[in-house]
Symmetry: C2
Subunit: 413 residues, 2 copies
């Protein structure tokens, strides 16, 4: 088993180079699909979408009030004591249509209207043609753009589309991303633990993160470290997915079946990334589809998801890669980079006591990886050869909303 | 119909005061529920959750390599020519358990291992007790905190919980928020349009936004401007929901049945907010539940959702109100505030051509509300009496991810 082929590169590739290399070699087959507007949240329209309607259909009142003919006010305030509701005026609230006899609206605050329908108008009220009247099409006009190709649909966009009479939209189909966890040491959740065994938690990490990215996850069963089993699993996954992720078995020991398998089946584009944790990432194109071997350890898999899978899913969806919210924070201790790799560092971010800005502390490597992962509300990817002193400012990616950043004091509670 | 009760206040209340007043009068009945970890994304744990497991169960290799007894290296490099695999050493890859005979791991890069199981070790390799061995519990330890009460669960948290042997979590139940669209002018999507009619699009806006906020939406049928119909709809909604939102009918014209209804049925806390669009918002507590009357116009309803309903849903979930991502941007034209109200201004944000910061342009009020809503990738709420000159810096809330902010040139394409 020691004579297996292990693709190697003279130097590790940067994350950007790996993504570029995969995309250049990937004859991506995007598909379109038509979905109901009410199911289209977050989906990305293939083409610009324009209104099919004009609203309001006719001019309408823009205030709660009474509709009148402005011509009767041309010579100053008329005597309204003999006016009859429905003949000389009518009630018209915001958005209401009214008879074409009228062309202006006086707001309800400017009149007194008796229970018997007698109208008196406050002194000094000015009634010009069209006053307090909104024009036909003042909400939306036929042909007006309601959604732009390439921009994910927000709740307000969906409502806008409905306003324009649109019931279905053509969007990019979400890529199906298969995940195959591998490793003879892996057991499914609920199986009794024993020495040398490890619970497969990457499947859930993958599934939930892929959904956030706009992909449809296809989580497949655990396969053992066995070349044939893995080949079979890959062959079953290929026709079902647009992108295939194999977990584990990516480093260079005896059980590195995956890299060998990828080499046998397609074109390996890299085996090794300037990205720690997760350096042994291996990427190939097999039958026109990207097959990525993500390392098994939790944070390594997470890191690969964040940069590699995120990049590929976004490319399939024809959109820029999803970026996390960032804030600028001052480091509370020095951050030492490496000349070989960029490191993902979990960060604890707090708001300064004086409210002026944020502080970021790298999570202690003395903690367990799980503890670091839970404590972190931010993350930072170091650049090559980048040493930053304490107090240096970095752009931290936030892993929770701004509203959850504690203030500095809270840390000592 | 003009003699209806309309609650009025001497002055409009600020958004903060309204939220505070509702919360003070709301005997909120939060409920807990138990959900599977795999279904718990975004849910908020009621209590801290700690690991029930220790992983790895036993110390394990931290590298791909061979496990050996370090004592045999105490006097320098031993002669390994006679060593037998399985007796004098064994293969142990990252995460692997190995026999208790061994206490150290030599990395695969530092040895040559023949197909026949003969081991030779590179010169100069140092083998100390415990080297390349990770301790039991180095991934996660029993009792270690895996999720903190009050913090929404992220994909990495779910995986962490599974790692600690947790399969179910107790979280706050999502509040059910009922939405009752009202207005005789409203028609459901798909109904033929005619003069004076308007398509109900707020139901979809509500439904999708409420889901984003962590609420369970209950969208009810349109009711006409008829006091009895609205009372019936409210009575049907009350037992089904934790928060009730009635849409439309909130301003002061003839058809203001809603405010009257809220007054008849419970305690009205405000009718009028320093918030434009959406000023006529009316809030009451009826049978211990908040009933909010949001104005009908699209942006007014949107604005009320953003500050009022968001605040109430967050309070129910025992979390701080959701904040949107913000960026600092320079205004391209002056922004004039008001001394009476705070205004929600739709913004178009672009990245400066030189890459140094962002520019924000208020969407032109000459555009239709739909067009402004679609164009906007940001929003800003003015403060009372706040006039900001062109070039002034404001914190813009982003309505799309950072990756979608175009660069300045793109605007002229």
């Amino acid at each position: 088993m020691t004579n297996q082929y292990v693709p190697t590169f003279e130097t590790l590739l940067s994350r950007e180079d790996i993504i570029r290399r995969i995309i250049e070699n990937w004859p991506v087959k995007r598909q379109e699909e038509e979905v109901l507007v009410e199911d289209a949240l977050g989906r990305i329209p293939v083409l610009d979408i324009c209104s099919q309607l004009t609203l309001p259909v006719a001019r309408a009142s823009s205030r709660d009030g009474v509709a009148v003919a402005s011509s009767r006010f041309a010579q100053g305030m008329p005597d309204t004591s003999g006016w009859v509701q429905g003949v000389d005026f009518e009630r018209a609230d915001t958005g209401d249509d009214f008879s074409d006899t009228y062309d202006a609206v006086i707001t309800i605050e400017d009149v007194e209207l008796s229970g018997e329908g007698k109208l008196s108008i406050h002194e000094g009220v000015n009634v010009a043609p069209g006053c307090n009247v909104r024009l036909a099409g003042s909400t939306v006009r036929e042909g007006e753009m309601l959604a732009k190709a390439g921009l994910p649909l927000r709740p307000r966009d969906l409502a806008g589309l409905q306003m324009g009479g649109i019931t279905r939209v053509t969007v990019w189909k979400n890529p199906v991303v298969a995940f195959i966890p591998s490793g003879s040491e892996l057991i499914a959740l609920g199986t009794p633990l024993s020495r040398g065994k490890n619970i497969d938690t990457n499947s859930l990490l993958m599934r939930e993160t892929l959904k956030e990215m706009g992909a449809t996850p296809l989580c497949l069963p655990i396969v053992r470290d066995d070349g044939q089993e893995m080949a079979d699993a890959l062959n079953r996954a290929m026709p079902q997915a647009d992108i295939i992720v194999m977990g584990g078995g990516s480093s260079k020991g005896e059980e590195d079946y995956t890299a060998t398998l990828l080499h046998q089946q397609g074109k390996v584009l890299c085996h090794g990334a300037q990205a720690v944790p997760g350096k042994p990432l291996c990427a190939a194109i097999i039958a026109g589809k990207p097959v990525i071997n993500l390392p098994g350890p939790f944070m390594a898999a997470y890191h690969g998801l964040e940069w590699c899978i995120n990049g590929l899913v976004s490319h399939y969806l024809n959109r820029p890669a999803r970026k996390r919210q960032t804030i600028e924070a001052a480091l509370t201790k020095p951050l030492l980079g490496s000349d070989m790799v960029s490191m993902l560092v979990n960060m604890e971010v707090v708001q300064r006591r004086d409210g002026k800005g944020y502080l970021a502390t790298p999570c202690s490597i003395r903690e367990t990886p799980m503890s670091r992962s839970i404590m972190a509300n931010g993350q930072y990817m170091t650049k090559l050869n980048q040493d930053i002193p304490a107090g240096g400012l970095i752009e931290v990616e936030l892993l929770r909303g701004l509203e959850f950043i504690p203030v500095e004091e809270d840390k000592n509670l």
